[in-house]
Amino acid sequence: MAEMRMRDALREAMREEMLRDPDIFLMGEDIGAYGGSYAVTKGLLEEFGEERVRDTPIAESGIVGAGIGAAMGGMHPMVEMMTINFSFLALDQIVNSAAKLHHMSNGQISVPLVIRMASGGGSQLAATHSHSLEGLYAHFPGLKVVCPSNPADAKGLLKRAFRDQNTVIFIEHTANYSVKGEVPDDPDFLVEFGQANILREGSDVTIVGYSGSVHQAMRAATMLQEQEDLSAEVIDLRTLRPLDMETVINSVKKTNRCVIVEDDWKFGGFAGELSAQVMEQAFDYLDAPVARVSCKDVPLPYNRNLEFAALPSEEDVVEAVLAML
């Protein structure tokens, strides 16, 4: 165990996996000489050389496609999209090639590929650079979608991703990069996909989050405890596909109330899926409709006040909980 930031835990995961498996290599825009735009890959070029740590042109579709091809050819690449905002340009490759080739080829082809990308708003990067679209990726069968909220999960999940034979979309909230935590150093430490994490036990309401929104959920739980003497159970989904609804449903059966927090826009967001599933599977247990606390349905503005007004906050979560009592 060592304490480290999430960006370092991610780097450790890649390092260890590269040492374990010679088929793993990394490519992406500015992951080499620049050190990665969020310094996640810093030092890896020096350690592993240009063959295994490849700076690429700015060509998202091309490099994801090359990653898919290399995976089909027996390698296990990691392609970094720098940020989720640029991954739109590679979406066709992700959705039509990576996600479907195994099924369409009747199991002949597989695409063991990790696609990492930073996501999230809150840094005043304005509308084109502040997307939270974990749910968009989770919609496509054939993909796995992972979104850690802390350093240990980040390491264990990323290592697990490199041991998967499928394409894993690995989404890192920029607000989490500097979050610190204890991280196991066992080289075989893995966090399995599809296992939500109960971060805090409680009995009055279930608050569900993932990636960045876990932190609003936790802060809201503290506020509820301190200010209202309410006990909130907080669940971190960790992966959206596969999705561990069992943990959520069991919790809701206990608390009879559920709030979902996500950074993405509300309308058509993943919270809708979660909300619908909670209703479908725990209808008779619900004392109030499941609530969604999400981003306002507007492109995120640069101005700090506007941006914060748009993004979901812990106060919004508390308000949603109080409204359902």
């Binding site: 060509a59 091309g62 066709d92 090639s97 369409m104 082809i109 041991r163």
Partner: protein, 335 residues
């Protein structure tokens, strides 16, 4: 020469009678296979989109026979010819067109998505140009794993307008991946003449990336074969990618649904006069490598193979509905 493959042969080397016979057989097979596939479509046995290869046979036969066993082929949705040239079982191709369990893709892919990994046939791709970056990646894997495999990447003239064309060519030269970019320029992308969708000549553009690029007569199987052998050798020697444009023509519509409003029957007739199969026959006859008996025999063989393919397809069952969710994810060892 024992093996039917001509790979590794010096470009200037003449092809033997056996090779030529094999080329002719493959071209005739493709022609007949496609006629049958079209017929089966009309009879409702084949559904979805069906793009016939008729007229372009010299391209697949010339190019794909330049490959060795470890090499790989990726192509677009007009893929039956390439699969046949690569030795994929005609029975299983036809079964795929029928959507049956014994199809090369288990009935999941259909005409546009044929896969036979054992044969190094890594697929038909129905999103125009999407397989070009894949070819670069396959080339990279070959390079990194020192497999000495060359990737034959086949696509149409319409493909050249897409951004991924540019991204793939650039990446491939930068990384020196062993990819033959083989463009079958049949003059049209659906109904649009290629010079109306591209502001320049295709090889000129390819050459601008600092990649060797040539244009050959795609109605001449020997010319195609000669050019692609050079290309394959270049790639195998570690010199990076190579671009070949083959000027060809499709006799049929873009797909079975094409009303062909955009071209005159006359044009088709002009090209039929330059038919690649007839050309090869004439050449072989002149060399004394083909007589009536041999031709009849080839015709019968082809007929037999195609009939058998239809029988095989008819008899193959539909995949059970219980298999719907199969192969959604590959199981991970220990996970």
């Amino acid at each position: 020469m024992k093996s039917p493959t001509t790979a590794g042969a010096k470009p200037e080397q003449e092809l033997g009678a056996e090779q030529l016979g094999m080329f002719l057989y493959q071209m005739m097979l493709m022609r007949r296979f496609e006629e049958k596939a079209g017929e089966m479509y009309t009879r409702g046995k084949v559904r979805g989109f069906l793009h016939l290869y008729t007229g372009q046979e010299a391209c697949a036969v010339g190019a794909i026979n330049a490959l060795e066993e470890q090499d790989k082929v990726v192509t677009h949705y007009r893929d039956h010819g390439h699969a046949l040239a690569r030795g994929v079982d005609p029975n299983r191709i036809m079964a795929e067109l029928f959507g049956r369990q014994d199809g090369v893709s288990g009935g999941r892919g259909g005409s546009m998505h044929l896969y036979d990994v054992e044969k190094g046939f890594l697929g038909g791709y129905a999103i125009v140009t999407a397989h070009l970056p894949l070819a670069v990646g396959l080339g990279l894997a070959s390079q990194m794993k020192k497999q000495n495999a060359v990737i034959m990447c086949v696509f149409g003239d319409g493909s050249v307008g897409e951004g991924e064309f540019h991204e793939a060519l650039n990446l491939s030269v930068l990384w020196k991946t062993p990819v033959v970019f083989f463009c079958e320029n049949n003059l049209y992308g659906m109904g649009v003449p290629f010079h109306e969708s591209l502001s320049t000549e295709i090889p000129k553009l390819a050459a601008a990336y600092n990649m060797p690029a040539v244009s050959v007569d795609g109605m001449d199987v020997l010319a195609v074969h000669r050019a692609t052998r050079i290309a394959v050798d270049h790639c195998r020697a570690g010199n990076g990618p190579y671009f070949v444009e083959a000027m060809t023509y499709r006799y049929r519509g873009h797909s079975m649904a094409d009303p062909e409003l955009y071209r005159l029957k006359d044009e088709i007739e002009q090209y039929r006069k330059r038919d690649a199969i007839e050309k090869l026959k004439a050449y072989m006859a002149e060399r004394g490598d083909l007589d009536e008996a041999k031709l009849a025999e080839l015709g019968e063989r082809v007929e037999h193979v195609v009939e058998q393919a239809v029988d095989f397809a008819e008899q193959s069952p539909n995949p059970p509905i219980s298999t719907l969710m199969d192969h959604l994810y590959k199981e991970t060892a220990g996970g």
